[in-house]
Symmetry: C2
Subunit: 237 residues, 2 copies
């Protein structure tokens, strides 16, 4: 029940890591498909070909497993997001960064998580996290994503001058919704509307999202300007 921290190194660690990873993979998929309450540890351990007790041994509890599932993906996404954001700034050469480029830096790392041509489970899980009723979840989410999100707000603030900070925060929520819903609903979307529209070409989907979100942001900017000038028409910029 102890000594999970002290690692002697060697093959013994490898065996533990293997089931650890299998558990994380299975949990990621099942949490995404069925939600936290809907995915039982028995279903997860069975999918991972592991023993029922393995979850409590490796992660302490079901909640601990969920935190581990989330945390595992966050660092790579954050790192890649920041890398692409820095690239935006370099391309802008001191000036305001391009809106589309900032949005692309925001969404591309998440798309990169997909596996095998389909939508990655983590995206759907991340979408669920906004509505799962676990009390500690918002705090964790803020700790994991808060800083990077703030930097993207900064970038959008420069790319879209004239929008207040509060307004930008709202716009970012709309952007997130744009990205999240199609990926969260994912493969089942077509069923809901009785149409065959598969998520076959993910690059095209990402392009669509970015274009749409950029158009939405620019419309908000135009409105904010027009609103302040009281119907004076399009603001100079």
């Amino acid at each position: 029940m102890t000594a999970r921290t002290r690692l002697p190194g060697g093959a013994a660690e490898t065996r533990g890591r293997a089931t650890r990873t299998a558990l994380l993979d299975a949990a990621e998929q099942l949490f995404a498909e069925r939600g936290y309450a809907g995915a039982s540890l028995r279903a997860i351990t069975e999918a991972a070909a592991a023993n029922l007790g393995a979850v409590n041994y490796h992660f302490g509890s079901k909640e601990g497993l969920l935190w581990a599932v989330i945390s595992r993906r966050v660092s790579p996404v954050n790192r890649e997001r920041l890398r692409l954001l820095a690239e935006c700034r370099r391309a802008a050469d001191g000036g305001p960064p391009d809106v589309e480029a900032v949005l692309r830096a925001f969404v591309t790392p998440v798309f990169a998580l997909r596996a095998g041509g389909g939508v990655n489970s983590f995206v759907r899980l991340a979408g669920r996290m906004y509505s799962e009723p676990l009390p500690q979840l918002p705090k964790l989410h803020a700790r994991l994503f808060g800083e990077v999100t703030g930097l993207f707000l900064d970038a959008l603030s420069e790319a879209l001058p004239g929008l207040s900070r509060k307004e930008l925060w709202w716009q970012l929520q709309l952007v997130i919704g744009t990205f999240l819903h199609p990926l969260l609903a994912g493969p089942r979307l077509a069923e809901f509307t009785e149409r065959m529209c598969l998520l076959d070409d993910m690059d095209a989907v990402a392009d669509r999202m970015i274009r749409f979100a950029a158009g939405g942001l620019r419309a908000a900017q135009a409105r904010e300007g027009a609103g302040r000038a009281r119907g004076d028409g399009v603001r100079k910029r």
Copy 2:
């Protein structure tokens, strides 16, 4: 266990209707907050001040309760959506309807469901329905919303000429995401980003969404035109 269909009329019916409504209200809220699997019948019946057996008596099963919760709200929303859409067409006077007006007709009836200044539970529930793993759900969703959604796709098709049917379907998903995410995450959104941004002024929120979505749609239209003309700039139309 039988004879729920034959109603003798009078006060006996009233008593049953009261608990029925209380159960629907409580279930709507708890399904929205905790999801289908996370909301137990014991929690629902307790919140409704009803007996545990009342759910199975009135709705047959937990799933039956969910279908009833959903169905109750759909007719008013659909009716109001169609009314506002017809108003759009009348205002357009035979010409293509206004994009913002169509979007407003789409989203306003949902906002109207809110109660007491907050976000109504049904909106969050409707958002959850896209990802809940119940097998029969997509079929129900298509049956309840499919026809009206198709009519809105028609209207958008006229309002945004040049976009293919498949492309429009995708754009509508982005629009739905724009509307859904802020409402689904709802009161907890501020916690996630450590910022105080309350859903205080719902009319302003709706305006923001509509403006954003309209901007996104117009950007998609511009891109489709430019894409077909291979960088020729804005298409004539």
